[in-house]
């Protein structure tokens, strides 16, 4: 176990172990029916949001690019994943295999979208990048709204209905064909095949990819570009290349999360992946700490469950949710609180000193 002597490696392995332990405990609680029905229904969405937070943290925290269109990649992954899972329903009876395929296809298409969007977007920095990525998120939403997709024994039928005049009847599906995406109505009547275990595996894969990327030579280059672009360029790093790597990997992970999410609900419309969803994921990342994957996981899990846990406040529940968010933001930035934690735990003092703030 010599490799565990390295502090950074040890930290990563503690993160992995924490996720595994949390999964085992929750799975045990589910099997013994300790946790209520309402919470059981949220397990898959929670894992999806955790993966989304890890993915966005790679762009915002590690690469330092504020992207506000991340829900767009989730949308691409979600709809391609649904189409994959639904159209293979008769060819591949096993739901597990179909789900894995759906996530792979979702990841590939989202990565492709990430690359295409990255070409113009990554020429910008800061506020401009945020605005343009936001616009691309909205463009993806509008494009998906125009899609009509069905599958029958002859294969996939796709109509791109820009004028809004066509319906599923125009697909001319053969006997036994199914309409999968129905234009404005979105994907409706999807067979739900996502499981909590699949979500857990996806979190682990996303963590391994992102943490290893960050610790690698490429990861150090990405962070060098974030910290000082001019210095990074002066030593011969291609800033566009390294930012693009982070952006595409992040988009792919978001696509896989989207495929898992899409196959968990029998109704999914493009308007669900709007600006608000992007901001929601950004809140997870900011609250968990930029570049801190462990924090992202905890923040995503807590903030997804919180609004449901607040249902007893009835009409005031989103108000309470907002107040809780603001209070957490204020308290975690409070200098007195930080000083208190440092006094209690000398290890933090060392790390804080290393931060050099």
């Amino acid at each position: 176990m010599g490799f565990l002597k390295d502090k950074v490696t040890r930290r990563d392995f503690i993160t992995y172990a924490g996720v595994i332990v949390a999964f085992v405990i929750v799975q045990l609680l589910v099997n013994t029916h300790v946790i209520p029905y309402s919470l059981r229904g949220q397990l898959v969405p929670v894992t999806c949001y955790i993966v989304m937070a890890i993915s966005l943290n790679l762009v915002v925290g590690v690469a330092g690019d504020l992207s506000l269109g991340h829900a767009g990649f989730m949308s691409v992954g979600s709809f391609t994943g649904i189409v994959t899972a639904m159209s293979l329903a008769s060819a591949i009876p096993s739901p597990v295999v179909r789900l894995v395929l759906a996530m792979i296809v979702g990841a590939v298409f989202a990565a492709l979208a990430g690359f295409l969007i990255g070409l113009p977007v990554l020429r910008l920095r800061g506020d401009y990048l945020a605005i343009v990525s936001l616009a691309f998120g909205e463009i993806i939403k509008d494009l998906v709204n125009c899609l009509i997709v069905g599958a029958d024994s002859h294969g996939l039928h796709v109509i791109f209905d820009m004028a809004g005049t066509k319906t599923i009847n125009d697909l001319n599906l053969a006997e036994g064909g199914v309409a999968i995406i129905k234009g404005a109505q979105g994907a409706s009547g999807t067979t739900t095949i996502s499981t909590f275990a699949a979500g857990f595996v996806l979190i682990m894969i996303a963590l391994v990819i992102v943490l290893n990327l960050v610790r690698s030579r490429t990861g150090r280059a990405i962070m060098a570009v974030r910290d000082n672009k001019i210095a990074a360029e002066s030593v011969g790093l291609s800033t566009t290349k390294y930012r693009m790597i982070a952006f595409v990997v992040s988009a792919a992970i978001a696509g896989a999360a989207g495929a898992l999410y899409g196959n968990n609900f029998s109704q999914m419309s493009a308007s669900q992946f709007d600006f608000n969803t992007s901001i929601l994921v950004l809140v997870f990342v900011v609250l968990g700490g930029l570049g801190n994957m462990r924090g992202s996981i905890i923040a995503a899990a807590l903030l997804t469950i919180l609004p449901e846990a607040l249902r007893q406040f009835s009409d005031y529940r989103m108000l309470v949710y907002a107040i809780v968010l603001i209070l957490v933001m204020l308290f975690t930035n409070n200098p007195q609180l930080k000083a208190l934690i440092q006094r209690l735990n000398p290890r933090f003092r060392k790390e804080a000193a290393a931060d050099g703030e």
Partner: protein, 394 residues
């Protein structure tokens, strides 16, 4: 020393962003007028048949959710009997399928025995799938898409489907206004509007109606300006414009047409119900509007319900509230027919209610209702005309 090279990433702007999000949350939370928390109609000793209902009580579509849940709440009060009291719990879906499934989970934990909801189509499809796999009886009062009940034996519906509404409207026109020159204005990125438009066009062609301009589409982003569509309809000489829309865009069309001096008869479907209660809308513009809807608050037969609803919620009930009320009526009838006891488990109640539902006839606010085994309601299609600020059956 650390230099922040990225101006958008400084701490202050992020905090400001999150605070803005919080403010948005506060606004969303306040957009719901005066609805109370989950009301209980029965005695508080706990022995009552538990009905759940779900609707968007906050957010953009809250007006429909509040109507439906109020209707369910009133229904539970009115159809409780001493031996068979009903109690209701309502949960917020924010109009999102994901939140609706969470709301359904909360209701399951509460011990719900049958579900009268959710309100919107998207949320209904996602919850219906859960009800089917868990064997919980569900009746969606106002969700119109075919997917809600498709392939599900324990999911019923209280209203006409999109295709049926379009068909009914075209048939009525063929019978009563066969010479009308018809234009259609519809919203191409809305499932409700698109669904009705397609069915209407098909039936109108079969009935040889004169469609002079059947493809005047618009999208959500341009729902505030219809001058182009109206101009095209006017040029084509249309004297009747079919608008399968919700009442908000319909009111804009009426206003702009009157500004242009273009006179025509507007015809809409059940989404148009509510046109007369829009704040700041000159209701004289709505004179002569035709709509296929199931309920009229001006019908003397419904006066008692309308008065009770006004006293309780301070608002005139629309067809959403009335249909939800009828659905509770039907569930109460079916429980009586099946001879359910108050403590029947949801799974057993489901099987018995499904069987009883096809056997009952409910004389409700929206007509005489019966159900087929595929979950669809059959009732009379009514057409109303607005005359003197009131609905008059034509």
């Amino acid at each position: 020393m650390s230099i922040n090279m990225n101006p958008a990433m400084n701490r202050r702007s992020l905090i400001a962003g999150v605070a803005g999000l919080g403010a948005a949350g506060i606004l969303a939370g306040c957009s719901n007028g005066g609805s109370s928390d989950g009301g209980s109609a029965a005695s508080s000793d706990g022995a009552a048949f538990k009905l759940g209902t779900i609707g968007p009580l906050t957010g953009d579509t809250a007006t429909y959710g509040v109507s439906v849940t109020n209707g369910v709440e009133m229904g539970a009060e009115d159809f409780s009997t001493k031996d068979f009291p009903l109690t209701v719990k309502k949960e917020d879906s924010q109009g999102k399928p994901e939140t609706a499934v969470n709301a359904y989970g909360t209701l399951r934990d509460w011990g719900m025995q049958a579900l009268v909801g959710p309100t919107l189509t998207g949320t209904s499809v996602s919850v219906a799938e859960k009800c089917q796999s868990d064997r919980v009886f569900m009746i969606a009062p106002v969700a119109t898409a075919a997917d809600v009940t498709a392939d599900k034996d324990c999911v019923f519906r209280g209203c006409f489907t999109d295709p049926n509404q379009g068909k009914n409207a075209a048939k009525w026109l063929a019978k009563n206004k066969p010479d009308a020159k018809i234009a259609i204005i519809y919203q191409s990125d809305d499932a409700y509007s698109q669904g009705i438009c397609t069915a209407f066009t098909e039936e109108a062609k079969a009935d040889k109606l004169n469609l002079v301009k059947p493809d005047l589409a618009f999208k959500t982003d341009t729902a505030t300006d219809f001058k182009v569509q109206l101009g095209q309809a006017q040029d084509a000489g249309a004297d009747l414009v079919f608008c399968p829309l919700y009442y908000t865009p319909a009111s804009v069309i009426l206003k702009q047409a009157s500004d242009m001096g273009y006179k025509f008869t507007m015809m809409g479907c059940d989404g148009m119900d509510g046109l007369l209660s829009i704040k700041g809308f000159d209701t004289s513009l709505a004179e002569g509007v035709l709509m296929t809807t199931a309920f009229s608050a001006d019908d003397p037969a419904n006066a008692e319900f309308v008065k009770a609803y006004k006293d309780k919620y301070g608002d005139t009930p629309d067809q959403f509230a009335a249909t939800a009320y009828d659905c509770v009526h039907a569930v109460a009838e079916a429980c009586k027919k099946a001879g359910l006891s108050l403590d029947t488990a949801a799974e057993d109640a489901c099987d018995q209610l499904v069987k009883a539902f096809t056997e009952i006839t409910v004389d409700g606010l929206t007509g005489s209702l019966t159900w087929t085994s595929d979950g669809e309601v059959s009732k009379e299609a009514k057409v109303f005309e607005i005359q003197g600020g009131k609905y008059v059956a034509v």
